[in-house]
């Protein structure tokens, strides 16, 4: 159980600045994702926490103690690499016990802990195999076991689900979540995939260009992004420029709509409004509700069918994307009415 804090951490490689300055506060036992596009500095941040890179400025604190100068070996952290980095010349057993062998623990304790951890990751059958004889999911479980057997105070993972196929992803996701909750170990992982971040993490830190853009729970990032970049990265499709005519009304190119007033935004401000595509109700023109708030009429311009869900693009001054369960299918060209609750409209300062 360790609390991790980054204090104005900066990292430069020669003239190149990988991390401008990052403050991050990770609670003990929390599962946090560092999310961002490739090259944003998320892996560098992870490597600095692990001790593989030393910060140029700032400090890395574990439970309030500065560990910036503590060598990797002494930091007692765990890391699961994206391509697992298993030792190809060692069996599963040897890979798993490596961390204890190099610490010179008594043989008896090592074998006890080996049995225990092989049970946890269900690799008993494969203990005599070499990494080349394992599947991707099995290799990842070896990598996790190899790390957990050393009882690290912080567990780090680099793109933990990236190399797995869809079915295995679900399995590994549950496995990692369960394990993390059971052991209560502070876990930080890096990903460029917002779905992966939301699936796994308690909180997500979005990093753009070496700066922390937003840090919060997945639903907060998804529903209340603090910038259009974050909204965009979290997969938002309907972001439109608008002007506040009142604290709770915004003028857009598809009409003036009621919104939820947000602190810090005043009438007259230029803003963006964001309408989550699944938060919009869609009605054929004939079934349009009477007297409901925020009615927008338009025409279906395109339809994309995904099986369980269907997505429409509705032309209404702007192109608005609407997603719904595919219990019915409307046709392209059909006139429709959209309705959106004010509390499902999120406003971003411009």
């Amino acid at each position: 159980m360790t609390e991790v804090r980054l204090n104005a951490v900066q990292k430069r490689f020669g003239a190149f600045t990988a991390i401008e300055s990052i403050d991050l506060d990770i609670k003990s036992g929390e599962l946090v994702a560092l999310l961002g596009p490739s090259g944003c500095g998320k892996t560098t941040t992870l490597r600095m926490i692990a001790g593989l890179e030393a910060p140029t400025k700032g400090e890395v604190l574990f439970d309030g103690h500065d560990v910036s100068d503590v060598a990797v070996q002494k930091r007692n952290v765990g890391m699961v690499f994206q391509r697992y980095a298993l030792f190809p010349h060692m069996t599963v057993e040897k890979n798993v016990t490596f961390g204890l062998d190099v610490r010179g623990l008594p043989k008896k304790e090592i074998s006890e802990r080996l049995e225990e951890i092989l049970e946890v990751v269900q690799l008993n059958k494969f203990r005599k195999r070499f990494p080349a004889q394992l599947s991707g999911g099995q290799m990842q479980r070896v990598a996790i076991a190899r790390t957990l057997i050393t009882k690290p105070s912080v567990l780090m993972m680099d793109e933990p689900l990236a190399n797995l196929d869809t079915k295995l992803r679900g399995e590994m996701r549950r496995f990692i979540r369960d394990l993390q909750k059971r052991l209560g170990i502070t876990t930080i992982f890096v990903t460029h995939d917002q779905v992966e971040a939301m699936e796994l993490a308690d909180r997500v830190a979005v990093i753009f260009n070496g700066k922390l853009a937003q840090f919060g729970a997945p639903q907060e990032l998804y529903q209340q992004p603090n910038s259009t970049e974050v909204a965009d990265f979290m997969g938002a499709s309907n972001i439109f420029s608008a002007k506040l005519v009142a604290a709770d009304r915004a003028e857009t190119s598809f009409g003036t709509i009621d919104i939820m007033s947000q602190p810090g935004l005043k009438p007259g401000n230029d803003v963006y409004v964001m309408l989550r595509s699944e938060g919009i109700d869609l009605y054929p023109e004939s079934e349009a509700p009477q007297g409901a708030q925020n009615l927008i009429s338009g025409k279906i311009k395109a339809r994309e069918f995904f099986g369980a869900s269907v997505q429409y693009v509705v032309g209404a001054g702007e192109d608005i994307t609407v997603a719904e369960q595919s219990r019915r299918l409307l046709d392209v060209g059909q006139p429709v009415v959209l309705s959106v609750q004010p509390d499902r409209v999120w406003t971003i300062a411009r």
């Binding site: 190809p88 069996t91 490596f98 190899r146 050393t150």
Partner: protein, 298 residues
């Protein structure tokens, strides 16, 4: 039936025909020379008026003399010591090259220089640098480490062979480095980082993680260097300590003797070198094969 038999024969003929170029090369380059050498060493040389084939008298005379075993020892000693020194230096260099350090770009070119310079130039350099009247001895006396250049310790022309070893090492370090560096680039740094995070110190990382993974590079490069060193002639001839010489020099002396029938004795020497080198390299590869099986490569 007859037809299909016929076509099978044709097919086999065609296969041999396609193989013939490579078989020819194998036969002439390797088989021919080897067979000729073995046959001569067993007393077949009618062109010199000698034909006692098959007789082991030349091997008997050779292996029966003490000087042969001294020569064999010297040959193996120079070859092994220089290969081991070059390997240690090569590994250290390759480890440095996969890390970043100032001036690395330039250094990556400089270290390969000896690869392009012939052995004979290396030998000449050794004479100029390491001899008793050489640069280093003069510098040593200039700076007052020794009172006169002639007091410099004898490096060349001794049976300790430090001159020979220096030339081999100088020429072969870049070669070994190149081979191991390529393997290291292939395996990447991640396993080393993983080991460090798991708590391994530098020595544990090197011995338990890095070395086992670079073994293919280590084995192939040392194999080539060792085989070359066993058969090399110029360096021990020029820089060696005189009688007893290394086996290639002994063979050369037989070939160059006014009594040309001694060429058969020379052939027996050459075949002996091939036998010894063959046994050593074969055992080396067999041991490596066992190691590979132990680490799960089949």
């Amino acid at each position: 039936m007859a037809r299909s038999h016929d076509s099978a024969l044709k097919e086999r003929m065609w296969l041999w025909l396609q193989l013939s170029p490579v078989l020819l090369i194998l036969a002439v380059l390797f088989g021919g020379a080897l067979v000729l050498a073995v046959v001569q060493s067993l007393g077949f040389a009618p062109w010199f008026g000698v034909n006692t084939f098959p007789s082991f008298q030349y091997f008997g005379a050779l292996w029966g003399s003490v000087s042969f075993w001294q020569s064999l020892w010297l040959t193996l000693y120079y070859a092994t010591v220089s290969t081991v020194i070059a390997l240690v230096m090569g590994i250290a260099l390759a480890l440095a090259l996969v890390r970043t350090f100032p001036g690395k770009h330039l250094y990556k070119y400089v270290y390969k220089l000896p690869l392009m310079i012939p052995y004979t130039v290396g030998i000449a350099l050794a004479v100029i640098m390491l001899g008793n009247g050489g640069m280093i001895s003069r510098l040593a006396s200039f700076f007052g480490f020794i009172s006169d250049p002639s007091h410099f310790p004898q490096i060349l022309k001794t049976h300790a062979g430090w001159g020979i070893i220096a030339v081999y090492v100088w020429k072969q370090v870049p070669f070994i480095t190149l081979a191991i560096y390529a393997v290291m680039l292939g395996i990447g740094r991640e396993t080393e980082e993983a080991a460090a995070i798991l708590g391994a110190n530098r020595w544990q990382i090197l011995s338990q993680v890095t070395l086992p993974q670079i073994m293919p590079g280590v084995v192939s490069s040392t194999l080539i260097c060792f085989a070359f060193n066993v058969g090399a002639f110029e360096a021990p001839f020029i820089l060696g300590g005189g009688f007893p010489d290394t086996l290639p020099v002994v063979a050369w002396r037989y070939f160059n003797d006014a009594d040309y029938t001694l060429q058969l004795q020379g052939m027996a020497t050459v075949v002996s070198i091939a036998l010894v080198a063959g046994i050593i390299l074969f055992s080396y590869l067999a041991i490596y094969r066992r190691f590979e099986r132990k680490i799960g490569r089949n």
